[in-house]
């Protein structure tokens, strides 16, 4: 865990769960694995507070526990999964994706489950339906069955999954065969459970009714109340599936930028067909024949069969190698090269950072070194057609920022400078890791700036909240217009402007966190894909 990652985790935990959980969490990240007693002792917090914070973290899947180093007989040890904490940055993106795929219902389902960590199906459905009904105009209400159908769709496409069951702690009185506790270092994969995506049968009919007359909504039930058929079956968001979806989206948009719209539709069809059949870390999708692709293409795209063949061969010939041909049966077997596409996207990210930061000539030198691997200084000047002095300056600047490395090749064993070749080179993987750390630090900076802005204007924010509360209560009791305006005028115009600009700042900082998160996602997927293939 690097410093920046620990700092970012601390900020995220504090923002979402409060100071106590932050303290416990940060300490646990720094120490690795700890028992409950050790944790309580080192953080100097009372034991029950530590217990509660750990419960919160376990509920959200960020903390895992298991038999410790002393074996099953010893105390249980806890460890935090940092990756899971970083997923909190991406919650808005998950919710937005669910909304675009499954509408408002899907959005609310995912939001509820993200907020609670684990939920049973029945409670999710009930909460979501109630929320939807609340926002609907009078008289209409949301049927539970609709929500259930959206929920089952989410499960079918693997966006939601069952939480893996935890083996119960061995109790000598039960006499049943005890399944050993999973060792703390190996969390059980949710997908190893065979019923991972099986929906439980729950009897949920009916809907929440809103009464028409009176401004207080009276909650009436019609139909059967909920049965607790699915107690103990908890559902969680399948982050990996969402990540695969984001990765597919990135590949499709890259293809549409590089080639054209129709090619990107073809690639989208291919990726959609291999969504649930391709394992998560595969380098290629399943091989698809051209016949299958043609049948699966939506008719709205209106692509004829020979045109499809042409597009496929163009995709295969493209130097970016998004699509590859693996055979000739069935009209040609095609795969999407996932790892290579990720490497290309990561490379484009690196190049764009260098370009924005140092200028387009430095970007030229950077790309030149990426392609040609090792070059001497004279060769760099010649290939890039930049005057010698400027090229030297730019190379040294990139070298000082560690984006470019120097490789020495001695002619003589004594490494004399006049008799050594000095070659410049760029390694994509370490540079990607470096940029990833920069991104983590940047997001930390953004969060801190947001907290600072809020703190600076705390007095003003409190005042405006009080005014709003007064206004709301006055309106509820039916006051006259004059009283309302009098209360509103308690906020002066410059204060109103300040509030407005503050709101604008906070929104900007929030949206920029999401933007940096996109870069983090690309770089992290690339780094994971290269490590998986090792």
């Amino acid at each position: 865990m690097t410093t920046q990652e620990v700092r970012l985790c601390g900020l995220l935990l504090q923002e979402h769960f409060g100071n106590v959980v932050e303290k416990v969490g940060t300490h646990l990240i720094r120490s690795g694995v700890l028992t409950l007693r050790a944790l309580a002792h080192e953080t100097k917090l009372p034991l029950d507070l530590v217990k509660k914070s750990l419960c919160v973290l376990v509920q959200h899947g960020m903390c895992t526990f298991g038999a410790g180093r002393r074996g099953p007989a010893g105390p249980v040890e806890y460890r935090i999964n940092c990756e899971h904490v970083f997923h909190m940055l991406r919650y808005p993106r998950y919710i937005y994706t669910a909304k675009s795929l499954y509408g408002d219902t899907g959005e609310l389902i995912v939001e509820e489950i993200l907020q609670r960590g684990h939920m049973t199906m029945s409670s999710t459905v009930k909460t979501v339906a109630d929320r939807l009904t609340h926002n609907m105009p009078e008289g209409q209400s949301m049927d539970y069955s609709e929500v259930v159908s959206v929920f089952s769709q989410l499960v079918e496409t693997h966006f939601l999954q069952r939480c893996p069951p935890l083996a119960s702690a061995g109790s000598s009185s039960s006499g049943a065969v005890d399944t050993p506790l999973p060792v703390a270092t190996q969390p059980t994969e949710p997908e190893s459970h065979p019923d991972c995506y099986k929906l439980p049968y729950i009897n949920l009919t009916g809907q929440l009714l809103q009464s028409k007359h009176s401004s207080h909504t009276k909650k009436l039930f019609s139909g059967q109340p909920l049965c607790g058929d699915d107690d103990g079956i908890y559902w969680q968001v399948n982050f990996q599936r969402f990540h695969l979806h984001f990765r597919d989206q990135a590949i499709i948009s890259a293809v549409s930028c590089k080639l054209d719209q129709s090619s990107s539709e073809i690639v989208r069809t291919m990726l959609r067909m291999s969504e649930v059949t391709t394992p998560a870390h595969a380098a290629f999708t399943q091989a698809l024949s051209a016949n299958e692709i043609f049948r699966a293409l939506l008719s709205s795209y209106n692509i004829a069969r020979p045109i499809l063949d042409q597009y496929l061969s163009l995709l295969v010939d493209d130097p970016m190698e998004f699509v590859g041909k693996t055979g000739d049966s069935g009209g040609g077997m095609y795969v999407v090269n996932l790892h290579r596409a990720l490497a290309n996207l990561a490379r484009a990210t690196l190049e764009s950072v260098v370009q924005e930061r140092f200028g387009s000539r430095s970007a030229r030198i950077f790309r030149l070194l990426l392609r040609k691997r090792h070059l001497e200084q004279k060769q760099v000047e010649d290939f890039a057609m930049i005057p010698a002095k400027e090229a030297k300056d730019m190379l040294y600047k990139l070298l000082s920022e560690n984006l470019v490395q120097l490789q020495e090749i001695p002619k003589t064993p004594d490494y004399a400078p006049s008799r050594t070749f000095y070659l410049y080179t760029v390694n994509q993987l370490p540079t990607a890791r470096l940029l990833l750390q920069h991104c983590y630090k940047t997001v930390g900076n953004l969060i801190e700036r947001r907290l600072y802005e809020t703190k600076e204007n705390k007095r003003l924010l409190e005042k405006s909240q009080r005014i709003e509360a007064i206004l709301a209560s006055l309106q509820a009791t039916g006051a006259e217009a004059a009283q309302l305006t009098e209360v509103e005028e308690m906020i002066t115009v410059p204060e109103r402007q300040q509030l407005e600009s503050l709101r604008h700042h906070i929104n900007k900082l929030d949206s920029s966190e999401n933007q940096v998160d996109e870069t983090i996602f690309l770089l992290k997927s690339y780094i994971n894909s290269t490590q998986a293939s090792r």
């Binding site: 948009s253 890259a254 042409q310 061969s313 930061r357 030229r364 057609m385 900076n445 933007q515 940096v516």
Partner: protein, 314 residues
């Protein structure tokens, strides 16, 4: 008893010299001592050596050394007359410079080859320059270095830098202009292909341009005072590839087709970048020059960052 008189070949030194000269003409690459000996076996070593020395001193014979031994070569009359009147050292220096040919030679290298002291060399060089036999050319690689070559030779590309250098200065504006022109040409070709709405294969093929076509276009544009060859245009197109704006493929072409080199042709095509500028660079932190010094509680921190304050008010 009749005496068989063996006709004695006259060992006249002039005859020996002439014979040697004839042998040199026979073998223009040079003859070794062994060859002379084979031809005139009756000539003694001393006489042979005297003849050779005489020829050398007059300047009609060139002495060369190769891996096997010494070679004698006939010097052509023209160059023989040129160095008349200069002493041996000058002749030696002149020979060294002549051997360097197109690329010229540096004073230190002359010193190594001739083993003469520096002051002598400088004097000789000044002498030769005033006689207009050699000239000094500034090298583009190191601006202080001067290389000497024969007066009437054109300096080689590696010394002057070729088409991109004029008077030892790299012409960056010229390169930039060419860069943009080539890119515009390729981009307009790609757009025309895209708008033609034909089948995708035809579209892609028509968006390609061979290096020969680009070369012709640039020549016709007439923006260059210097004649540019196809290799020059290819170096410009390579810089466009490194800018990420153009991609290249190589196809096999028939030998006779225009623009093909060794049975291949290079095709270039304008392309779009595959992603938009990434999220990190939309934040001041991504471009901040003091990024590494920034931490909470320090002089530079997110809370009092000037760049962020300006950016937020945007």
């Amino acid at each position: 008893m009749t005496e068989v008189k063996v006709k004695k070949e006259s060992t006249d030194p002039v005859d020996i010299e002439n014979r040697i000269k004839e042998l040199c003409l026979q073998f223009p690459h040079g003859i070794t001592d062994q060859v002379i000996q084979n031809d005139m076996p009756h000539v003694e070593v001393q006489q042979r050596a005297m003849a050779i020395n005489r020829l050398l001193s007059v300047g009609q014979l060139d002495l060369l050394k190769n891996s096997n031994g010494l070679l004698y070569r006939l010097k052509d009359a023209q160059s023989a007359s040129k160095v008349k009147g200069s002493d041996n050292q000058e002749k030696l220096v002149y020979q060294i410079i002549e051997d360097a040919g197109n690329k010229g030679i540096w004073t230190r290298d002359i010193r190594y080859k001739s083993n003469l002291p520096l002051t002598e060399i400088n004097k000789i060089l000044k002498n030769l320059e005033s006689k207009k036999l050699i000239k000094a050319v500034k090298s583009v690689a190191a601006s202080k270095k001067k290389v000497y070559m024969l007066y009437n030779l054109q300096p080689d590309r590696s010394v002057t830098g070729g088409a991109w250098y004029s008077d030892q200065d790299f012409e960056s504006e010229f390169v930039e202009v060419l860069n943009q022109q080539c890119f515009k040409f390729l981009q307009s070709k790609a757009e025309a292909a895209r708008d033609s709405k034909q089948s995708p294969m035809v579209q892609r093929n028509s968006s390609f341009a061979t290096s020969h076509e680009v070369w012709k276009y640039i020549c016709e544009l007439g923006i260059s005072k210097v004649d540019l060859s196809m290799e020059d245009i290819e170096t410009i197109l390579n810089t466009l590839i490194f800018d990420g704006k153009v991609e290249m493929t190589i196809i096999a072409a028939k030998e006779g087709t225009v623009g093909s080199v060794d049975g291949q042709m290079k095709l270039y095509r304008g392309v779009n970048p595959i992603i938009q500028p990434t999220g990190l660079v939309k934040i001041p932190c991504g471009l901040c020059p003091v990024f590494d010094d920034c931490h909470e509680g320090g002089e530079i921190s997110p809370s009092n960052c000037v760049y962020m304050a300006e950016w937020l008010d945007f």
